[in-house]
Symmetry: C2
DNA sequence: TTGAAAGCGATACCAA
DNA sequence: TTGGTATCGCTTTCAA
């Protein structure tokens, strides 16, 4: 492999000049720049990442911690991952993928070894042990999610509290007064996953304010799990007219079960789903949904990380306002 | 951050001794080792990855190129990614995640900059332009998939030709003589994705050998797409008794459509799916399936990469024999 | 506008 | 069993 000295020699300049041509940190005459660039192309020169990291204390790599084997919707995870990788490339950064399983150790390993310039952490729990660990690192971190005590860590997420609230308001606005909530899997609540509790509290607050009757149950994302959940909800709240579904995996089985039992959507029962747009559109009924803006959140997470790195940005928490898109699964009651 | 000299000073030894304690590349007396390890723990010392890469020409990072936004089943991709990341950690390696969109440029960037020790590439096409590019790199590469001319690149995959063959044989063994194939999305065939053509050729060969009537159609993974596909297949092949489905996303809509049109599985129509075990089990009918061993393939890809790195292993192509698991969607005809 | 040279923090060879 | 030191390839300060 060609080194910077090889390029310098070929261009008839010093190594530092080549470095400055590459970084643009000082003015270079047009002629010199041209010769250096020609030499670079000629030799297929790529700066050595390790050497660069050693000399500059910058790696141009971000760590992304993703939940790679849990009860979170896989397509949603992939949307976040894709958004982060794509956005990172726009800032000339690559992405090192860590699994959530590795816990605190993974963070400390890649940060301690100076493998990354910053970290982005998904699937944050209310009392996440990784939060204090992240605070100790010298690299900036951005959480996708919102722990109970973020301290001065930067967070970005959909405002799930407002989302829960708006789902109920939307249905109430259409005349519904008895509403069931098909929640995430029980494991999600047990782990204290932040978005689940926030959504639930917004949902409950709205129901209380508006004087609606509600029933809430966690839901295993399988056919039998959805059946159980539905039975429990209906036992607790007979004659409900609408369901809010905060569980992407449950949507297809739910629609199938309803059809099997002869209930039409939305004529007999209305549904508001919380899911990304494409999931809402991929089902047999085009679902009215509160959008999970995974792409936007992932992109913002990268932009905020880069802002922290430049020193241009202060830590903050950014919660995106919900958007409810009316499609074909929500009916107005007389 | 503490450096190796800090540790050396604290332990009263030289920097090289600390390095050897860490690498185990030469014998160290018990006492010295203990003092060095104490100092390491005390100072929370982590070797600097960049410095290490520069001195040793090893990064302990693998690149993984994944199709992050195409018509390949997202859960399957995630299974590969998870398997690769998990296996890599067992070899003390981290994973840099690249998107397929970046094409050849991404490979050349991370390899040229010596950011990675090896590369694993998913979603390989028959005449993939990345294949010649990979051959030029000095780092070893492993393909998940099988291009037409792999040259001396290492490949690992399910033997899709045999899988297509066995799906037909399985059905024929149950008395079926008119079989439809619900294929992947049209884009998959158009791109010349390797596994799709291989599966199809095995499928066709078996049908020809056994004298069966077949109809084959690509399938958009949506409700309307599955409906179209099914209509086309039935127009071409009335009275078919079985379907082979090589398209994970089409499975749920297909089952729903069949039910809607009053055909029971397997009483009226048999199905053999090509998908990972958990997908086959997550649907309302437990599907007889040819397993896609994503975890095994991903793990093997990492092991083969490490073998190439040690110099212990020669380039080879490894195709895993198919396994058909009989569940509840395949009936024996009288 | 450019060059020279001092690090950055490890590894591994050569000695002892 | 251990230490000294050249070296990896780049960035950046100091000088010209």
């Amino acid at each position: 492999m060609a080194t910077i000295s090889d390029v310098a020699r070929a261009a008839g300049v010093s190594a530092s000049t080549v470095s400055y041509v590459l970084s643009g940190r000082r003015p270079i005459s047009a002629g010199t720049r041209a010769r250096v660039e020609a030499a670079i192309a000629e030799l297929h020169y790529h700066p050595h990442a390790g050497a660069r990291a050693l000399a500059s204390s910058r790696t141009n790599v971000l760590a992304l911690v993703a939940p790679l084997r849990v009860d979170v919707s896989v397509p949603v995870i992939m949307q976040f991952v894709t958004a982060v990788v794509t956005a990172a490339r726009r800032f000339s950064h690559d992405v090192l993928l860590l699994t959530k399983d590795e816990g605190t150790a993974g963070l400390e390993r890649v940060a301690g070894a100076a493998m990354v310039d910053g970290l982005i952490v998904m699937d944050v729990e209310r009392d996440d042990i990784r939060v204090p660990a992240l605070r100790r690192l010298k690299q900036p971190a951005v959480l996708i999610g919102l722990p109970d005590r973020p301290g001065d860590l930067t967070c970005v997420d959909l405002d799930f509290t407002a989302t829960g609230y708006e789902c109920v308001r939307h249905l109430a606005g259409h005349g519904h007064r008895r509403i069931g909530l098909v929640g995430p899997g029980p494991g999600v609540y047990q782990r204290g996953t932040s978005y689940a509790t926030r959504f639930l509290s917004g949902f409950s607050d709205a129901a209380a304010e508006l004087g609606l009757a509600v029933a809430v149950h966690a839901c295993e994302p399988s056919f039998s799990g959805v059946g159980d959940c539905l039975r429990r909800i209906e036992a607790e709240l007979p004659d409900l007219s609408a369901l809010v579904v905060h569980n992407e995996e449950a949507l297809a089985p739910l629609l199938e079960l309803l059809r099997g039992s002869g209930r039409r959507v939305p004529e007999d029962i209305s549904i508001v789903a919380v899911c990304p747009r494409d999931v809402a559109l991929a089902l047999p009924v085009r679902l009215t949904s509160a959008d999970i803006p995974a792409h936007e959140v992932g992109t913002l997470a990268v932009e905020m990380t880069m802002g922290l790195l430049d020193g241009g940005r202060r830590p903050e928490t950014r919660l995106l306002a919900p958007t409810i898109i009316d499609r074909d699964s929500c009916r107005t009651l007389p």
